[in-house]
Subunit: 335 residues, 2 copies
């Protein structure tokens, strides 16, 4: 944590802390401990600026209404995160039957707790063409999720605040753009910048949901630079050690935290959409979560910046950065 | 060569030897030397059965009509292979302008030399939606090739024998099925068995053209098991060392030679298409190339066979097999 947390805290005043740790953060008590650990780690590395970790709970089949009430009361738990089982890193505890969690969603809706979604369906038998032995293909998982689960959540809980995280397809853009009020989506820097081609070229670009095709990337750029408040930044930055990435398999996750703002700037520059960057990066997300807007200033200047190859990770490991050694056109400075 | 050639020679009576070596085989003289080396290597490893290497020439911008005449006269050069520049291993010398090679294609057509195609377009500006900075996305390259190059070749040289090699998409199946006489396609075992999901899971499944989606795999199975003589086996087996595969990038190629027939059997078994296997494996390809059919017999029995993890490669290296350690349901024996 001490190796990588500083990068996020340096670039952002706060971050939504994902609960897919090992073991997962399923209780408010665990979230509280994790939050303290984060604050202590920042102190230990001598970080002095304000950084607010916004905590989340991991939705499992055992999540209770009582825990939701406790979460809402805590003040520091801002969202509950759904992972489809076996979709991504440490997702094996994800809820298997959303229907049974109806009372949980109703309580979240009542108390204004946000439902964050890893929006993929891994197992399904209702879309034969994209499915093999009940397992949905990586390129189709988000699309199947929209039809199979998201429609039900959006209409079944009409006031539930829902964030479809790290969207990847033109279909997801279309869905969110046309959904009811209270439905939003985050977009990562790497999904704005790269495609499945980059995954084929390097495991360091492998993440879940997988990067899609150029037509999808263009739709994500359309959404991000549109000024539509339903779309805002969410890095999904995930540090995995070099040795765990550089294998035949390579685990899923892109590490973008050290230059996240510069990466987003690079994407927005492709569309000359400078006037839309602040809203996407700093305002719409805070507004959606009902948080006060940060007061500090980030200044982005046009200046060549080479992405470092890697940063140290623990005592003996390295984490390779997304787009390592590429040259960016921007540098962000912070007051 | 001595490490891996025996696997192919054990399973097959002959094979089309690809010319994308370093340096490439562009002249009949080189093909003749390579052919002798292959025969010598088989002798050196004590291989006693008949194995006929069918040679190919690498099509470059410098390929001449005279070389085509020489190739046809040689008797052992059976085809000329087109690689789009930078599409796959050692493809950097591929012809850049097919229009300028018109006299070459006309001579091939006249003399009955087959044109084998790595059917992908890498650079193109005419399909904006699938293209980034002039580079076509990996999932779209075969589809773009059909429209941009193959239509021109098929109609421009109406008697030229064309094999679209290692096809991967439902669009390619449709094209070949409906094309004029003299147009055929090969299908690899790995494209019949795996999809882009398997590439994401392991670099050992990475090959070019990249494995596509489940709907494409189903279309390939349809074609292979249809009994249509335009579709026949072509393994595209490519040994790369474990160390070259298990990196962040991982070079392109699947090594299927040691159990190629068993892998094809596994695919045909999915459709219970046993009556179509012999034609696909042994007859249609020979007929298309105008070769006499092999007389030896291959017997496939239902017997659990675990694919070995790897085989030795040179003095210090290993090659990991496609689908290493998976259990197949068949074993092939040879008279």
């Amino acid at each position: 944590m001490k190796s990588v947390l500083g990068y996020t805290a340096h670039q952002f005043g706060r971050a939504l802390i994902m609960p897919n740790t090992a073991p997962p953060i399923t209780k408010v008590g665990q979230a509280s401990t994790y939050r303290r650990q984060i604050k202590k780690a920042l102190k230990d590395i001598g970080f002095s600026k304000t950084f607010e970790p916004l905590m989340t709970l991991y939705l499992t089949d055992k999540t209770t209404v009582a825990e939701i009430e406790k979460a809402a009361k805590s003040g520091f738990v801002k969202a509950v995160k759904y992972y489809p089982p076996n979709a991504t890193t440490n997702s094996q505890n994800g809820a298997t039957d959303l229907q049974k969690l109806k009372p949980v969603f109703e309580k979240m809706q009542e108390l204004g707790l946000v439902l964050c979604l890893h929006g993929e369906t891994i197992k399904s038998n209702i879309f034969g063409d994209s499915t093999r032995q009940g397992k949905v293909g990586v390129m189709q998982r988000e699309k199947v999720f929209l039809a199979e689960k998201l429609t039900w959540l959006v209409s079944g809980f009409p006031k539930l605040k829902i964030v479809l995280e790290h969207i990847t397809t033109k279909e997801a853009v279309y869905f969110v753009k046309n959904a009811r009020k209270g439905v939003a989506a985050t977009i990562t820097a790497h999904h704005l910048l790269a495609t499945i081609d980059d995954v084929i070229e390097s495991h360091h670009n492998k993440c879940m949901p997988i990067l899609k095709e150029e037509a999808d990337r263009q739709a994500l750029l359309d959404a991000a630079t549109s000024g539509n408040k339903r779309f805002f930044a969410g890095t999904d930055s995930a540090p995995h050690s070099k040795t765990k990435k550089e294998t035949a398999c390579g685990c899923a996750g892109c590490f973008t935290a050290p230059l996240a703002i510069e990466l987003y700037a690079e994407a927005f520059d492709e569309r000359d959409a400078w006037d839309k960057l602040e809203g996407f990066m700093s305002l719409y997300g805070a507004d959606f979560y009902g948080l006060s807007r940060n007061k500090s200033t980030v200044t982005i200047t046009r200046q060549k910046t080479v992405i470092p190859q890697s940063v140290t990770y623990g005592e003996k490991e390295l984490v390779v950065l997304f787009w390592a050694e590429k040259e960016l056109s921007f540098l962000a400075t912070f007051d």
